[in-house]
Every structure is written in C-alpha cells, then in structure tokens.
Symmetry: C2
Subunit: 397 residues, 2 copies
Amino acid sequence: MAVSQSELSFARRMEGMTGNVIREILKLTQQPDVISFAGGLPSPDSFPESHIRRILEEIGGEFTSILQYATTEGYPPLREFLAAWVQGRGIEATPDQVLILTGSQQGIDLACKALLDPGDVVLVERPTYLTALQVFRMYQARAVAVPGDDEGIDPDALEKAIAEHRPKMLYAVPTFRNPSGETWSPERRRRIAQLTAAAGVVVVEDDPYGLLRYDGQPLPAVKAFDEAGNIIYLGSFSKIISPGLRVGYAVAREQLLRKLVIGKQTTDVHSSNLSQYIVNAFGRSPAFQSHLETICAQYRAKRDRMLAAMEAHFPAEARWTRPQGGLFTWVTLPETVSTTRLLERAVQQKVAFIPGTPFYTDGGGDHSMRLNFSNASFAQIDEGIARLGRTLKEALA
Amino acid sequence: MAVSQSELSFARRMEGMTGNVIREILKLTQQPDVISFAGGLPSPDSFPESHIRRILEEIGGEFTSILQYATTEGYPPLREFLAAWVQGRGIEATPDQVLILTGSQQGIDLACKALLDPGDVVLVERPTYLTALQVFRMYQARAVAVPGDDEGIDPDALEKAIAEHRPKMLYAVPTFRNPSGETWSPERRRRIAQLTAAAGVVVVEDDPYGLLRYDGQPLPAVKAFDEAGNIIYLGSFSKIISPGLRVGYAVAREQLLRKLVIGKQTTDVHSSNLSQYIVNAFGRSPAFQSHLETICAQYRAKRDRMLAAMEAHFPAEARWTRPQGGLFTWVTLPETVSTTRLLERAVQQKVAFIPGTPFYTDGGGDHSMRLNFSNASFAQIDEGIARLGRTLKEALA
C-alpha cells in the first residue's frame, strides 16, 4: 500500500532545483569558529532594536486592525510613505503604484509569475544574483547574460541580445551589484531604460542596497528614467532595518502592479501587518535618517577593513572590486583556481565564502568568489581574511 | 517611445485572472453601514491582544535573532511546538516534517508549485474554497469536482475520477468545509486516505478551521490516516490567534516538505520572525487553551444567533447548513434565483454575502450563497439577516 517517494511525480519546474546554494552553505558554516563571508546578512549591531521596542510598546488602538486581515496591496500609510520616499531615488509614484511585499525577493517571484511562460528569455547581468537565477529556473525561463563593464550592461550588447532573444524581461541590481559591487553610471541607466522601453521589455530593477552608499554621490534609480512604464522597481528594508521582519516593496504603474497584486493574493494574501506597522513607524521617525547614517558609517569601516586585510594577506595574483556601497566585494583569481574546490579547504580552515559559479548562467566564474563584509566583526574580518589569504596562496603554490 | 500596456505581454497563466472575488467584494462592502457576511474574517474581539502585548514586552536577548535572517523552514521552537501539537489531530510528525508558512494559503501555492504542470488535474470538493481554485488556475491546472454528500467526497466517485483523470492532487477542506460548513466522517477520511495513497495522488488537506468546533467530538485529520506519506496537512493560526500576523504551517514527510521549502526559498525566503515568535510564545502559554475555549463559545453563540435569525427571516424555500464548527453557513435557494444578481440588490440594502458560483469549477451553484457568522456582532447578525431575508423574499416574489 505504501507509496514510495519515487512514485510521486513532481512538476517539471522542480527538475534540478536543489535549493539555494547560499542557504545550504550558510547551514554548513553555522558551526562555531567558522568565520563566514558567505551570506548577505546585515550586522546584528545594525538593527534599530530599541526603536522597534518603543514602537511596539506604543501601539495604541490600531492593534486590533494590525491583527486582522488586511488588503493585499499593503498598509496604506506605508504605501503613502514609500511613494514619497522613493522620490529620493528620482522616482515619481503615487501610493497606488506601491505594493508591499514579504521581502523584495517576493517581487522577483511575482514579476516572473506575471510575465514569464516556459521558454521565455530573461536578460541578466554577468554575474548576477543567484537566487534570481533560481527563480527564473523555477519558471522554466531561460536566463541569458548580457556582457557589460564596471559602468553596467553594455548598451550595444543589450540591443543585440534583445534582437536575438526577444526577451520578456531584464533583471538587474544596478546599484552596488550583487555579487560584484559595481554600480551603473547615470548615462547607462538612461540608455538602458530607453532601449528596453522601445523594445517592450519589462525591467525588474532590484535595489536592496541603494541606500548603503559609503562614497560618491547618490544616483537616480533606473526607474527614474521610466517614461514608458516598463520598469518595476523593487526595494527592501532587509538591509536597512531588519531582514527578519520580511518587508520589501514594488513600485510600478497600476496596470503592471495589478498583475503582481493578483499573484500575491493567491500566494500569501498580504504581508505581516505588524512588520508593515513597524517599518512605517520607524521609517517616518526622525531616528530613521540618523540610523541610516550610522549603518553606512559602520559598513564603510568594515568595507575598508576588509579591503585593507585583503591588501595585506591576499596573493598578488588576486584582484577585487572596491564597491562604493552595498555588502559585497568580488574577488577574481587566476583561471587555474576553482573556488568551488577551494571552498572545502577554506571551510576546513574555518572560513567561508560563496564560489562564483552560481552567479553565472553558463557555468563561468569558477575562479571568482563573493565576500560579504557587513556581518563579521573587525576581528573576524582580520582573522578570516588572513585564513583565506593562506588558503589562496596554498592553492596558487 | 512610450510603451502602452497592450504592448506588454503577460504570462499565459494570467489570462482570465481578475483577482480574488471575495477580496474585491470586501472592498465594495467596506463602506460604512454595509453589514458584511461576505469575508472569512475572525471577530475583532477574538484576538488575544493583551497576551500579544505582554509577549512583545517580554522579548529578551532573542530580539536580535528575531530581526536577523532565519532559515526557510521556520523558527525551530515553533516547528517543535507544532510537531507535538498536531498529535491532537492524530498526526505523528517530527519537527523536521513541519514548515512554517506565511499563512496556510502559501501552502496551497507551494504544493502546486511542487507538483503541478500545466494541464494537470486537481480533484476538489463541490463546492470548494474559491481562492484554491484561483491558485490551480494560476498553475494552469484543471480543477475537477468530485461529488459527495454531507459526510464528504464519495469514495466511488473518487475512484472513478482517479481512473478517468489521473489527477496529481486532491485538494480538500475536510473539517468545517469552506464554503459549506460540513465535515467528513472518520470512515470517509480513512477511505480517502487509502484510495489516494494507492493511486499515488497527493492530498492537500487544508485545515484552517479544525479547532473551531462548537458541537460534537473532535475528529482525527485525514493526515492521521496517512500511511503512505502522500498527505500534506496545512494548518493556520489566522482563525485562532490572528490573520494579520500571517502564520500557517505545512506538515508532510521530509522528501515532500523539501520541495515546498525549495519553492518558499525563492518566494519569500522565510516568514516574519516576529510573527513566528509571537505564535510560538502564545501557543505554548497556558492562556492558549482557554483562549480557544473563549473563541469557540463566542462563535458558537454567533452561529446559533445567525441560524435563529435565518429561521425567523428567511423565506420557506431557503435551506442552509448547520455546521458544527468553522465560520460559514451555506444557503441554498430555488434554482430560479441567481445570487450573483441578488448581490447587487443586497448591497443596496446594505448587506453582503458571497454568491455561490466562484466556489464551483463548472459555473454551478448560482442559487447558493456563503454567509460568515464570525465577524458580525449579534446586532449586525439580527439586522443583516433581516435585510437579507427581505431581499430574498422580494427575489422569490
């Protein structure tokens, strides 16, 4: 009578889906003593815990409505706050153009749900955010990487890719790219908005790190150049308030947003009201701006500490990016090195990173790795980079 | 240069997806003065607000980890609590067989993601939960209703449907059915578990109302008869603690649960830690049991009030179910009545319900309606049912 696992047949979209590489590595590296540069975790010191405690204490008569069902679109005061707030990124939006998400990751999923049929093409950066690649695979779409440089995707290459692949979507993290840390130039932003608009390609602009800027001037979002209404802007509070609350948001014109809302209704109905309430209250408080400045100062120092430690400990053959913001630096090694193989040795030395390959659509990048500098302490950065330097030198010897 | 909406092409799964009928009706009925029996909202009096306030005040050193990223599977103490707690429904499970969800609605979505390809068949009850039907449509699956009676799906009809349609899944709300309020008998539960196991059909047992029992003896879940590991049990805290927190859970054997976890990773990474913390703390407190008893007493009285009001005000031609639990009664009218058309007139009379048709796969049920008795006050029940009775009598005149 018993049905064995093999008798159950799963959906085709599950073929080859083995779970998120990072999250699996994170589990491995949760052993004590391992210094992990693998995740994209904010520093535990960065959470505005006392502010959140006060917000919770001061909830008044609105508690009942926080505990009740709410609209899929999200908590109205938070939608209003965000419509005004994204003006800081050059985005004009009404509250009706804002959808609150259970983390901005959900925005990638809902955009795919709204737009992609199996076999459709999504253009991506090379390298790109690995969990986005997993989402595209889940929707049986084909991710095609477009070449670029440190100013962003190359417009000529984009035009060629659009002509060749007729993509439905372009997915990118234009500001402090995950994994490589670079940022698109303003001119590139404008140009890519134009090219995609002309071709009717929807851009999913994923911007979880935009406010974590440590040097240079803030840039307008790609969405700021969206004259045609083809850009979905995704923002997140995970890196600037708390990831545990799971609050992100999408900004798009109503007709496009409506499709995301329909997708969300059948998925989780709406996001946690309590989380939305906290984010709204903290976001509107005077403390938010100084909190952002504090985090940026903290992460700037950590970035500098890591860059200095790499300078001191890494072999001469290694190169790495010096990001103006975000959470990551990207290390490129000689092509003889496989970081996938190196990871095992590194974990034996009690230090962890993410190998480059999962960020590529084509198996490339195996001689590169992503390092996170936000989560570790100064002492852990010094010690972890020293360990990693030794591991790298051994591999190159 | 401007791209018009018509130039964007959405995914095929979005065709005909116009949003959740209930949620759209809820918006209409949010005008003051409308007495709504349309939603499935718990009573605002039912929320354990003071307990939740105390839990929030007493969060100690664990606040930092609440604010950080966490595992997709869920908060370990809550998984442990649930593994023990579902024993009350006759379910044997380890914490590793529990996945925390952003509402049990997410479980329906993730089960479909794991199992359904376009064109696959899902067997359902007739009538069944309308948002589940929307999920199946979103996955381009075909929902096929299996006839039954007030003891549940008819086993012979189920065997026939399995042979004819080779379904991947059976979806059901066996306890206090949504929308009709009935409950499967123990013998039917056992038989359906056996038949589906033998055929390798995955059962999604959706049980948001199981603990809201006002009469009769508690029954084991269908999952309690799951010898083959083909049943996914979905539970929810939306109706017994708070829907605004968005916490539900799935129980399934590891290999099946793993597929749900992979689907969740790419969707929302994990559910709100703060919500999970609250549910765990309240669920483990001595207050939880007495809270459940209080809600059941409150809803029993509301159910009785509504049944009495219907007796007093409804026309002789109307029939309705007398559920032993849950949130709904189901009204059947002569076939000459269209409740879809009736709704407009009812809303003019400032009373609302859900017409029957959206709960059917085949356009049937237009002479029936679902009434919710949990959200309205006694006075609203009396007045709303009187208004609805007048509207019904006019329609039948």
